[in-house]
């Protein structure tokens, strides 16, 4: 075990992304990463389910994508920083994604912030 991560499992609501996870979930991470390319984004927008299928995502993964289940995707082993690309394609802000992962509406989330109108 990585000695630098000792005790990290006691930090609730946190999912460290390591090499083992990366190997296990490289396919779906590459799927989101590819959204850095305009052609790929267009393919996604044109037919979401078809692209998921073409890229070999499982049924469970496709449901997480189509359902915009941000927290579910994180728990499944997707790295936040490829999800950030997905949010851009959907024209959502990071704040939208944060609120969703907390199980809150954007407004409720912003009310917990120091400067709610910095968006």
């Amino acid at each position: 075990m990585n000695p630098q991560l000792q005790g990290i499992d006691q930090i609730a609501g946190t999912y460290p992304f390591d090499v083992a996870r990366s190997v296990e979930r490289i396919r779906i991470n590459r799927f989101f990463w590819s959204m850095t390319r305009p052609e790929y984004r267009e393919r996604f927008v044109r037919d979401e389910a078809a692209l998921c299928k073409a890229e070999g995502l499982t049924g469970e993964e496709t449901a997480l994508v189509l359902g915009r289940d941000w927290l579910g995707l994180i728990r499944h082993g997707v790295n936040f920083f490829v999800l950030e690309k997905f949010a851009r394609v959907l024209r959502l802000s990071n704040l939208d994604v944060y609120a969703s992962m907390r199980g809150e509406s954007l407004d409720d989330f912003l009310r917990t912030r120091r400067v709610p109108n910095a968006r």
Partner: protein
């Protein structure tokens, strides 16, 4: 001979670049952020460094897990601005410094740092977000940049101590470069934030203040911390502050903090701090005498 005249620690959240592009400089919700960068931008305009050595991380934009380096140094003569899913920011390409880069790689690899070398990979918000507030860029940037990418996303990350040692090795490398160059070291990332999982939104200003104190006064104390400590104290994504340790390792004991700004608006504690080397005054002198 090249020399280091100062260091900058700065957040690199995409929000900074986004707010900049939307022209929110005078929006009351944003002006405390922009005002905080002005003294640093003025210092840079005055000192006119030739090169910024920029410790940053790519956010799965130009690098992917098919080949994920611990440390990677960019050696190209110029770097594109990255498309992170919504097109590119309209900034000029960023000039690299291939000669200095090649020298740094020679020196670092011989110093037992197992660097990867990258070329022609676009720089994402890890670089371009703070850079747009630090340097003017119309029609072009005033100097060159050598990017050093650090893995802060896929554990195992380099330890805080290893990052500090990398900075020390960069100092040795810069100081053995034969041409006259004034260099500023930039460390990016943080401060406290967590942006994944149910713990999203975590911040810790008390810890941030302690970090800002330690990075200046006692970085060795920070090098003894584990990644899990950074995660617990500052939130999961704040572990990227190990890149500030690389910057700090490249600075001397004689630095003086000449500016600091801290602004926590929504999710990330956005900070910029400027550390001046004793050499910088001499630098000002040399420039004045030109």
């Amino acid at each position: 001979m090249a020399r280091i005249i100062g260091g900058i620690g700065t957040s690199h959240v995409p929000t900074i670049g986004l707010a900049y592009d939307k022209g929110k400089q005078d929006d009351p919700a944003w002006s405390p952020l922009f005002k905080g960068y002005e003294p640093v931008a003025r210092w840079l305009a005055e000192k006119r460094p030739d090169v910024l050595v920029f410790f940053y991380n790519d956010h799965l934009t130009s690098f992917f897990f098919d080949l994920y380096p611990t440390f990677a140094l960019g050696a190209s003569p110029e770097f594109e601005i990255a498309d992170e899913g919504a097109g590119k920011r309209s900034l000029p390409r960023i000039k690299g410094h291939p000669r200095l880069a090649a020298h740094l790689v020679d020196s670092l690899v011989n110093d037992e740092f197992d660097l990867a070398v990258f070329q022609e990979r676009a720089l994402d918000h890890g670089v371009n977000s703070p850079l747009s507030l630090l340097w003017p860029h119309e029609p072009d940037w005033p100097g060159a940049l050598v990017p050093i990418e650090i893995n802060v996303l896929q554990y195992p990350l380099p330890t805080a101590l290893r990052c500090y040692k990398l900075g020390q090795a960069v100092r040795r490398a810069v100081e053995s470069y034969p041409e006259d160059l004034d260099v500023v070291i930039v460390g990016t990332g943080g401060l406290s934030h967590q942006i994944h999982g149910e713990r999203t939104g975590f911040n810790n200003t008390e810890w941030d203040m302690r970090f800002l104190d330690l990075i200046e006064r006692d970085p060795m104390e920070l090098t003894r911390m584990k990644h899990a400590d950074f995660v617990r104290l500052g939130g999961a994504e704040s572990v990227e502050v190990i890149m500030w340790l690389a910057m700090r390792g490249a600075l001397s004991d004689g630095i003086r903090k000449v500016h600091q700004n801290y602004y926590l608006a929504t999710s990330t504690a956005m900070t910029v701090a400027l550390y001046e080397e004793p050499a910088a005054s001499a630098s000002g002198f040399a420039r004045a005498a030109e």
